[in-house]
């Protein structure tokens, strides 16, 4: 908006004088080169590595997905998009997608709500702050394999801790590993246990950067804790919230270790009847047990598209968090424009 006001003449091009260019010394040229090229060199290592371990595998996976490719005997004939068509009409693929979505929703939503609440509490003036903050991070330090083994034992159907505790309140044993919803709840529990604290810390960091004086003046105006939380804290941490939601989405849709080890003795990964087989688990089974590399690659790319779609969707949704904030942003901008016009300043505020 303010860009249009930028006076074209504010930075007059230096007048070229004959003979000036040749007067540049070697050092000058080197330093100009430094200014122009160095930034690219600094960021190059990432892009080179990304190309090597990110882009190349992605393209290669795409090529594999177009072939009838056996894990052991290698590439077979070119089948075009047949693998994609076969997977999209395979009930087992949709089953895995349903399980993924179910576990994703059961984990991400409670996780983010609870993480935000924990962060808000930790943002208060507590005693022994570091102790509380480190405590919520401990589950994140434990490896997922150990978590899965512990949960798997706790949710054992015959002699697990959970069913034992439930029996005290007169609840019949729940088939935590056989039935669909209970198994999803248990796996979502593992994910939540591990990630809630981590997300809470990130959100806490964002909350801490919210200027205290805004809170104070709102409190002076009579706004209670809840009102301040929804009208000040949440809008202010929006960028961080978007980050947390998108990483949670990516992680949630790629869940593998927890369902793989939840019932490690099962001959079919993800439960005998695939009752908690997620899409990544299905992909893994397709590649390394059923040995169909082509279809596995197709699944990987379908999943990639789904994750991107979900990421975009979540971005759009989370943009709507606290529209009040964007409104005030717009107001500020307008005010700035007016001020600029009034002062006739050559350089608009950034």
């Amino acid at each position: 908006m303010t860009r249009t006001l930028e006076p074209e003449t504010s930075a007059p091009a230096p007048l070229k004088r004959p003979g000036r260019a040749s007067a540049l010394t070697y050092k000058h040229r080197l330093s100009r080169l430094d200014v122009k090229v160095s930034p690219y060199l600094y960021v190059a290592p990432f892009f080179v590595l990304f190309g090597l371990v990110g882009l190349f595998p992605l393209v290669y996976t795409f090529v594999v997905s177009l072939n009838n490719w056996n894990l052991l005997s290698g590439p077979g004939e070119w089948v075009g998009f047949d693998n994609y068509a076969a997977e999209l009409s395979d009930p087992l693929f949709w089953n895995s997608l349903f399980n993924t979505m179910s576990i994703f929703l059961l984990s991400s939503i409670p996780q983010l709500v609870v993480a935000t609440a924990i962060a808000a509490i930790l943002d208060q003036n507590l005693r022994a702050k570091t102790f509380w903050r480190m405590s919520i991070l401990i589950p994140y330090v434990v490896t997922p394999v150990a978590v899965a083994l512990i949960f798997s034992s706790m949710f054992s159907e015959q002699s697990g801790l959970v069913n034992h505790l439930l029996s005290f309140v007169g609840v019949d044993p729940i088939l935590w590993k056989t039935d669909v919803l209970p198994s999803h709840l248990a796996i979502a529990g593992m994910v939540n246990w591990r990630w809630t604290g981590y997300n809470a810390l990130i959100l806490l960091a964002a909350m801490q950067s919210v200027p205290r004086d805004i809170h104070e003046s709102a409190a002076l105006d009579g706004a209670g804790f809840v009102r301040r939380f929804f009208s000040i804290t949440l809008p202010s941490i929006r960028p961080t919230m978007i980050f947390v939601i998108i990483t949670a989405t990516i992680g949630g849709l790629q869940i593998f270790t927890e369902p793989r080890l939840y019932d490690a003795t099962s001959s079919t990964a993800g439960g005998a009847h695939r009752q908690f087989q997620t899409t990544v688990l299905y992909l893994w089974e397709m590649a390394f047990q059923r040995q169909n590399f082509g279809k596995a690659s197709a699944i990987a790319l379908i999943l990639f598209v789904i994750i991107v779609a979900f990421g975009v969707l979540n971005y759009l949704i989370s943009q709507r968090i606290a529209t009040a904030d964007s409104r005030s942003d717009a107001k500020n901008n307008k005010r700035a424009v007016r001020r600029t016009l009034r002062n006739g300043a050559k350089e608009p505020r950034a």
């Binding site: 052991l72 003795t265 390394f288």
Partner: protein, 442 residues
């Protein structure tokens, strides 16, 4: 510029890390052993194959050879490891152990493994029981695997449970009761019904292992001898399934999760009375009892091992040593594999961890019947003697490339469904649906 102490340390770490990156990037030529003819052989085994102590002996007898061994915890993980490395085209050890269950997949790419006949297999091929050698030979007659152990099946039974039901507990009497050499699945399930009526308890742990044993006994299993799929409209298979479903309807199954058994405690609390026991399973039973906090010495555990198996002799499992074509030292690797499967070494392996020898000279070796911790656990049963008898009459069944997928993913879920009370026909139909999805239209 003056660096702080921390910066210096940081720089040192960074340098070390980047150097490590570069160093590992170009250190794959390690197995060449450039120094004066020294050869390093890599070996990948899994589970309890009992070879760990033998490598040093081989190194001492063969100067210039060093062995780098890696033992993977389970056969399933070893399969993933081997498959991944075959797919990658590199990384396989010089000697790779292959389990019978996924040998069918390996046979489909047998050209990735050297023909051991070119490295002296023909001189030693009489050492194995014939069907073991046959299993390790591919369709073109190339020998790609030297047999290590085999898994002849006998019957484990809990004598305490038998006593409670008023059945005999002596292992010879138990064998006779089941019909001795004529023991069939009918007689096994009939005795089970008697047991169930007397005690109200289950006869076997779960349906999956019974089903595997039944299928392994058939002349042709999931594939015909010429390698055609043999599942749909296979009357023999369906009849066995119906028999198993009837046994479930009579309440003979303990509905256990296989390889879990309620963390082993179902072996100690009399949940079930009998158990399918290939030779290598004996150590598993002992381990389960130990896990559950039971008496691992066996004095009060009550488990025993009878020289009988429903439906006659059968084999479950067993392993082969192969040499991939990726190996840079196929001759030395083949020599090592041949040595590891010699009679003396197979006896040592049996005594170390219990895999039963596939070499006839080892099976008759008196040292084999010396008491071990496992035989003590099974009430001093003459394990080696029984297993040798149980190995008699085993035939090699053709295992196709998808054999383990059919067993685990097509019939596995339906066998669990039988345990959970689903009707036999419904469970069979579900298996056929899965067969169509996973195998026919794969």
């Amino acid at each position: 510029m003056k660096f702080s102490q921390r910066t210096k340390v940081g720089a040192a770490v960074a340098c070390a890390a980047s150097f490590a990156l570069i160093a590992t990037g170009c250190s794959s030529a390690g197995t060449d052993g450039a120094s004066g003819g020294d050869i390093e052989l890599t070996v990948t085994t899994f589970g309890s194959m009992g070879m760990a102590d033998l490598y040093a002996e081989y190194e001492a007898a063969n100067p210039g050879i060093t062995i780098k061994a890696n033992n993977i915890d389970t056969g399933g993980n070893a399969r993933t490891d081997a498959f991944t490395k075959i797919a990658a085209g590199s990384g396989l050890s010089d000697v790779v152990a292959v389990e019978e269950g996924w040998l069918g997949s390996i046979m489909a790419v047998s050209d990735q493994f050297v023909d051991l006949s070119e490295y002296g297999a023909d001189d030693i091929k009489d050492r194995w029981v014939p069907w073991k050698l046959e299993q390790g030979t591919d369709a073109e007659g190339r020998i790609i695997g030297y047999g290590t152990d085999i898994g002849p099946e006998g019957l484990c039974y809990n004598s305490a449970a038998f006593e409670a039901a008023g059945l005999p507990t002596d292992r010879a009497e138990v064998a006779t009761l089941l019909g001795g050499d004529d023991a069939s699945w009918e007689s096994y399930f009939a005795l089970g019904k008697k047991y169930q009526e007397a005690t109200g308890k289950a006869w076997f742990d779960q349906s999956g292992f019974i089903w595997n044993s039944m299928v392994n006994q058939m002349d042709e299993g999931y594939y015909t001898a010429d390698g055609e799929l043999n599942v749909v409209d296979n009357a023999e298979l369906k009849a066995a399934w119906t028999q198993l479903a009837d046994a479930n309807a009579a309440g003979l199954s303990g509905k256990q999760a296989q390889w879990d058994w309620n963390k082993g405690s179902s072996f100690t609390d009399g949940t079930f009375a009998t158990f399918m026991c290939p030779g290598w399973m004996l150590g598993v039973v002992q381990g389960q009892v130990e896990t559950a906090g039971g008496d691992a010495t066996g004095a009060t555990a009550g488990w025993d091992f009878a020289d009988v198996f429903p439906g006659g002799a059968t084999n479950w499992g067993g392993t082969f040593l192969t040499v991939p074509t990726q190996s840079k030292h196929p001759q030395e690797a083949a020599d090592l594999a041949a040595w590891l499967t010699e009679a003396d070494q197979q006896v040592a392996e049996f005594k170390a961890e219990g895999p039963f020898p596939s070499v006839t000279a080892a099976q008759t070796d008196p040292a084999l019947s010396e008491a071990t911790g496992v035989s003590a656990f099974f009430n001093d049963a003459p394990i080696a003697e029984i297993l040798t008898k149980r190995a008699d009459g085993v035939k090699a069944q053709f295992k196709g490339p998808d054999d383990s997928t059919i067993q685990e993913q097509v019939f596995g879920p339906s066998a669990i469904a039988l345990d959970q009370g689903v009707a036999g026909d419904k469970a069979w139909d579900d298996a056929m649906t899965l067969f169509d999805q996973l195998i026919v239209n794969k």
